[in-house]
């Protein structure tokens, strides 16, 4: 096995997952100025939805992924209407509400899903070996889907009518409203997209790990690091930062210890913020 090559592949795979979670976070913050600490719950919901569709309904993995995306997007919209609509632009209050909501939802998940580890086997179990690197099918699928989704998201934000509307709301909600753009619709759309991305991430990693109601905590933590490193609100920055964090985590976990990978990621974030407080691609 080529250790270096394997480290790079592992890092890209993990970075892809982080990218999906982080992009949803950065979109919500960039457009609505809301720090959604409940985002990890959407990731967990996506994973569990996929699990139940595949294991209980026997409907196939792709159906499970689509169901996960819809479920997480729908639940995110529900949260937006019931909770977050009141906190648009209110950073501190919104963050407190989000933290409270995250704790509540995790407790509910523990009761509903039970704190018993679950797992299932996805369809991409094959392994391709190239130059000593074992390319696991599911991880290749994660990377491929992430690249496609990010490109689609970039095109959507840059070229679609709704994407332009979201950018207008991001720049100035008041002026956007004067232009006839529905800020409420922007809120719902942003949360739906963010939720969909988190749910998709959960669905993609579900066949590779054990599912527990608290499974969203660790990825959310790293996703925040990615968002901060990449710059709050920057899709491009989030993607580059996710790849950087993924590779760094993989490298340090393999050549040092997994625990060192955790704290060194935070050290890197602090170091970059000390030099560039808005992140790599963020704007003041």
């Amino acid at each position: 096995m080529s250790t270096a090559g394997q480290v790079v592949f592992n890092g890209l795979s993990y970075g892809a997952t982080l990218a999906l979670i982080a992009l949803g976070l950065t979109l919500v913050f960039g457009i609505l100025r809301i720090v959604n600490f409940a985002h990890g719950v959407l990731f967990m919901l996506g994973a569990y939805t996929t699990y139940f569709v595949v294991s209980s309904l026997h409907a196939g993995y792709v159906v499970g992924v689509l169901a996960a995306v819809c479920a997480s997007a729908g639940f995110a919209c529900f949260l937006a209407v019931v909770v977050f609509r009141r906190f648009t632009g209110l950073l501190l209050e919104g963050a407190i509400a989000a933290i409270t909501l995250a704790l509540l939802l995790e407790s509910v998940a523990l009761v509903v899903f039970k704190p018993v580890p679950r797992d299932f086997t996805g369809p991409f179990q094959g392994v391709v070996q190239i130059f000593g690197v074992h390319l696991l099918g599911q991880r290749l699928f994660v990377i491929g889907v992430t690249v496609a989704v990010v490109l689609a998201l970039q095109a959507f934000v840059a070229r679609s009518r709704l994407g332009r509307a979201l950018r207008a709301v991001q720049q100035d909600p008041f002026v956007a409203r004067l232009q006839g753009i529905s800020v409420d619709r922007a809120l719902l759309s942003t949360f739906a997209i963010g939720g969909a991305l988190a749910g998709l991430a959960g669905a993609l990693v579900a066949p590779m790990q054990v599912l527990e109601p608290t499974m969203g905590e660790s990825p959310l933590l790293f996703a925040f690091v990615v968002v901060i490193l990449g710059g709050l609100g920057s899709v491009k920055g989030g993607l580059y930062a996710a790849v950087l964090v993924g590779l760094m985590t993989s490298f340090i976990s393999t050549y040092w210890t997994p625990e060192a990978a955790t704290w060194s990621t935070f050290v890197l974030a602090l170091a970059i913020l000390a030099v560039r407080p808005t992140g790599l691609f963020g704007h003041a």
């Binding site: 096995m1 704190p115 074992h134 790990q209 054990v210 976990s253 393999t254 997994p258 625990e259």
Partner: protein, 399 residues
């Protein structure tokens, strides 16, 4: 005059009735002091979290022992007969939650005998238990919590380093010269202790040894496996990891091209591993100790009854250990003639009985200073190509 006589007669009858009532009450009261009282045993085990597979069979096994003992008349201590009762507390495989559970058990519920699952949990609970003179029985692979400084602590489990030694003894003839064994253990005090002991035992058999440590919440083992596999191990040892982790670890190791053997030296949840790796993924790997097919009377009782209790699983042979421990505790209580935990603990180190595993006693005095650990031999099983366990040897390990 006549009314006076009638009144006196009525008074006399009333007085006699009152006296009879008082006497009857006195008799009842006296009888109550030799009637059945209740002795509650607590079990702090993971009923949730990454090791949720452990708690239910352990508690069910203890309940089976409680049912057996109660059906035989309970525990007779002094002039009192005690009915046993079991109370469960969830540690979620988290030492902080175990401490919370212990405080509730000891302070609020007044329990004096606690079974604790997991070395990290036992180490966390031990100071509280010792301060309250509570006896703890730890279902834990490490032995760092027993000894003369901890006379109230017992290890109700086999020794994981000894179990690893037994498995490696079976595998050695099939491997080359100086094969490398890599242990992947939890990154906690217990994991590091067990790794240090395992290293000594592996090297004594002629193996090279190294260990890696992972957090309890790790679900992606690719990074650590990438590191491990670069050194080309012949054996990967998964001891002390819960089933949810070692199943994924084995699966991902195979996906990364690992062709060697696995050793599951702290029981194996075979269905979970087979689901993750498939039959070919772990064929030829070994596990010990293989605890099954109990032939003694308590063993047959356990086999036939434990499955009828919620959470009970007769395929989880390791869970017979807390069952046997309660049988031994009964003997110690009756012989000590008191519920005083210090005296019962002292007696536990001296008594023996027949349990599911056969002759049962606490030993290890020469190594640990006090007889506070179960002494067992290690039946080693190989996992067949059909996905079943086949006993291949019984290894006796001298401490």
């Amino acid at each position: 005059m006549q009314r006076s006589i009638r009144q006196r007669a009525r008074l006399g009858v009333a007085g006699a009735a009152l006296a009879a009532s008082v006497a009857a009450l006195a008799v009842c009261a006296a009888g109550a002091s030799s009637a059945t009282s209740t002795l509650t045993i607590g079990v702090i085990a993971p009923f949730s979290g990454p090791a949720a597979a452990y708690g239910p069979p352990e508690a069910a096994s203890m309940q089976a022992a409680v049912n057996l003992i109660n059906s035989q008349g309970g525990v007779k201590v002094g002039g009192t007969t005690y009915t046993l009762k079991l109370r469960k507390y969830d540690s979620a495989w988290d030492p902080t939650k175990a401490v919370t559970a212990a405080r509730q058990a000891i302070t609020q519920d007044g329990l004096k005998y606690l079974e604790v699952d997991g070395t990290a949990m036992e180490l966390a609970v031990q100071p509280i238990a010792e301060a309250a003179h509570v006896v703890t029985f730890a279902v834990a692979g490490d032995a760092s919590f027993i000894g003369p400084k901890h006379p109230l602590s017992f290890k109700t489990y086999y020794d994981i380093p000894q179990s690893l030694q037994a498995s490696l003894t079976v595998l050695k003839p099939k491997l080359g010269k100086s094969p490398l064994v890599v242990s992947i253990y939890p990154d906690n005090t217990s994991g590091h202790n067990v790794a240090a002991q395992s290293k000594a035992r592996a090297q004594k058999l002629g193996y090279r040894y190294s260990a890696e440590f992972v957090g309890g919440d790790v679900t992606d083992f690719n990074p650590v496996l990438t590191k491990v596999l670069s050194s080309k191990p012949a054996v990967i040892d998964t001891g002390q990891l819960p089933p949810s982790q070692y199943a994924v670890l084995a699966q991902q190791a195979r996906q990364l091209g690992y062709k060697g053997k696995f050793v599951f030296d702290d029981t194996i949840d075979l269905p979970t591993v087979l689901k993750a790796t498939g039959k070919s993924g772990i064929a030829g790997s070994v596990t010990s100790p293989l605890l099954e097919n109990f032939t003694t009377a308590p063993g047959r009782y356990w086999t036939s009854h434990v499955g009828k209790i919620s959470g009970g699983d007769p395929t989880q042979g390791w869970s017979v250990l807390p069952f046997d421990n309660l049988l031994l505790l009964k003997v110690a209580l009756e012989k000590a003639g008191t519920l005083d935990t210090e005296r019962v603990a002292s007696m536990l180190g001296k008594v023996s009985t027949t349990g599911a595993l056969g002759h049962l006693t606490y030993g290890g005095g020469k190594v640990y200073g006090l007889n506070r650990t179960f002494v067992i031999d290690y039946p080693v099983a190989m996992i067949t190509a059909a996905g079943t366990l086949k006993k291949v040897a019984t290894i006796h390990i001298s401490s």
